[in-house]
């Protein structure tokens, strides 16, 4: 049997991350291809959560529900993963491409003497991975010159591993014995309740300079609400103070990969496209039929968003109503 594939499952604040299921599905594929076991290290969860990882494809789960792993402490989280890695000697370590996963990946790569690739979009069993460079304008094929690969995996690219009730596997406690840490957690302030995070959103509706004002952003929110989408924005909208920075999509904002991206009043400059060109489908609503976003779009609707959005919302509601009635 060859060396295992190790998935890092981070349950911050006691919550499983949906990205863990995606890592398990990629990990399962790699493990099968190399006829090796898929091992998960669960930081911040107990045997119950560990069993779910088994049901979603792990052959073995090493769990620790140590309180100190409830919040991200990259030093301690890295120690937990390193402890698991020392036991398992993995060929690859898979982490989510979020702040926690990326922070950990840096330390793990150095400590394991591993090759690191961030934000990978494809992983070949033989070793190569693909990732974006120049903000997605190029795709780089990365080769490894090290026995261990540490990879953070782009969200929303791989189907989440389905749960197979009763699937068997080993569940063991990782006797976490942390060394000292110089990082002390003080507090966590959650974003507005009920807001969908851009990074894991299946649908996003974004507004740009064309929205024209802070109050007018309500149109974008309305459409987002009707479509069950998160709210995004261009830098022009953020810089105008119409919406907070955390909603910004693009080079200096978030990189997103939804199934559906609706760009309203966004011209589609390269720095915005850098953050969303990986969307499966792009809908552009713009008064300028020739702007780059309209040319990139899967579906382009020329017109004034303030005229179109209420009509689209009404149309969606009508069909939902019809679906409920039927």
């Amino acid at each position: 049997m060859s060396q295992p594939i190790l998935v890092v499952a981070l349950n911050l604040r006691g919550r499983a991350s949906p990205q863990t299921w995606e890592l398990l599905s990629v990990g399962r594929r790699l493990a099968d291809a190399s006829k090796s076991p898929l091992v998960a290290v669960l930081a911040g969860g107990g045997p119950e959560a560990a069993r779910e990882l088994v049901e979603r494809g792990a052959d073995r789960v090493l769990w620790t529900d140590d309180d100190r792993l409830q919040e991200l402490n990259e030093e301690l989280h890295a120690q937990a993963v390193l402890q698991a890695a020392a036991k398992e000697n993995p060929a690859a370590v898979l982490l989510p491409s979020n702040v926690a996963g990326r922070s950990l990946a840096c330390r793990l790569a150095v400590k394991l003497g591993a090759g690191l690739a961030m934000d990978v979009s494809e992983i070949e069993a033989a070793g190569q991975v693909k990732r974006g460079a120049y903000s997605g304008n190029l795709v780089a094929d990365v080769e490894f010159q090290a026995p261990v690969r540490v990879l953070t995996v782009t969200a929303m690219l791989f189907a989440p591993a389905a749960r197979q009730a009763g699937r068997s596997g080993e569940v063991q406690e990782l006797k976490f014995a942390p060394g000292p840490t110089r990082t002390e957690f003080k507090s966590f302030q959650a974003e507005e309740a009920g807001e969908i995070d851009l990074g894991s959103a299946e649908r996003i509706v974004s507004g740009g300079r064309g929205v024209g004002g802070k109050d007018k952003f309500s149109a974008i929110r309305e459409l987002a609400h009707a479509l069950g989408a998160a709210v995004g924005a261009s830098r022009a909208a953020v810089d105008s103070g119409w919406i907070p920075y955390r909603h910004q999509v693009g080079l200096t904002g978030r990189t997103v990969r939804p199934k559906l991206y609706v760009a309203c009043g966004i011209s589609g400059q390269i720095q915005h496209l850098a953050g969303m060109s990986g969307a499966n489908a792009i809908v552009a609503i713009n008064t300028d039929p020739e702007c780059p976003m309209m040319q990139q779009a899967t579906v382009a609707v020329a017109g004034d968003m303030f005229e179109l959005i209420p009509l689209i919302v009404a149309e969606v509601k009508k069909r939902k109503g019809a679906a409920v009635a039927a």
Binding site: R107, A109, G115, Y134, A140, R182, E184, F188, G199, V299
Partner: protein, 267 residues
């Protein structure tokens, strides 16, 4: 007293539109370069900390070929006090592993003169896009490393309270120094270089350090010291031609759009 701060900067092409050469590598020769946009925030934050804590100094550090000295002069013109350039043909082909190792060695060298309290980094470079070097430097030096920092709430010679932007909210953490900090754009609004700064930058003498100056063996740096290699780059596949929704009225367009969304199971 005061803090001894290092800020790492990178010279990168100013454009994101880069062709691929026959060797499969990005064709960057001759492209206009400038300080990586995200690094401007790290430089600004370093200078702001210097202004907050009397007696502090900021040293700008880069790894790159001869021409990258320009990015250090730019950092000096933005308020850094000194600079150091890790430079030599042996560094060619460095990935994040080798780059971070060399930068960590340079920070150790600076620390030998005067202990470094804080190393600041931009979110990521706009060419490589990894955002890994800051966290890896922290690991090499065995310092805590906090990425995605949007605010330095307080800082003194022994500790810093940092606001870390997570996907679902903001963490407040206190780290003991020395530490490495990765910044995000929200942390500040960078100032433009001052005339006085530009004059000082022009005159500054910038030391150049080779691998042996840093106590690194040839096999620890450059391509030899790297764990990854870009085999080739390609352009991502172009998006297929889209559908244009036509209609006599906005209502008709709206209905047609929703038809398409439902048909393609997008909603």
């Amino acid at each position: 007293m005061g803090l001894n701060i290092v800020v790492c900067v990178k010279n990168v092409p100013s454009t994101l539109t880069v062709d691929v050469g026959p060797d499969g590598q990005p064709k960057t020769a001759g492209l206009v370069c400038a300080m990586n946009a995200f690094d401007e925030y790290a430089v600004e934050e370093a200078v702001r900390i210097k202004e907050r804590v009397p007696g502090s100094t900021v040293t700008a550090l880069t790894l790159g070929p001869e021409a990258d000295q320009a990015v250090l002069r730019d950092a000096l013109s933005r308020g850094c006090d000194a600079a150091a350039h890790v430079c030599g043909p042996e560094f060619a082909g460095s990935d994040v592993f080798a780059t971070s190792k060399a930068l960590a060695a340079a920070i150790r060298k600076l620390s030998a003169q005067k202990p470094v309290h804080l190393a600041l980094f931009g979110k990521n470079s706009n060419d490589g896009n990894s955002g890994a070097v800051g966290g890896m430097v922290a690991a090499w030096l065995d310092w805590p490393g906090v990425l995605s920092v949007k605010k330095v709430e307080s800082v003194d010679e022994s500790s810093a309270v940092l606001w870390r932007m997570m996907e679902d909210g903001v963490d407040v953490v206190k780290v003991s120094l020395p530490a490495a900090v990765g910044t995000v754009k929200e942390i500040n609004e960078p100032r433009i270089p001052s005339l006085k700064g530009k004059m000082a930058a022009k005159k500054a003498v910038i030391p150049k350090w080779t691998a042996s100056d840093l106590g690194l063996k040839p096999e620890e740096v450059g391509l030899a010291g790297s764990k990854t290699k870009v085999a080739r780059c390609t352009h991502p596949p172009a998006r297929g031609a889209g559908t244009r929704v036509e209609g006599a009225s906005s209502a008709e367009k709206a209905a047609k759009l929703v038809d398409i969304l439902v048909e393609r199971k997008l909603i």
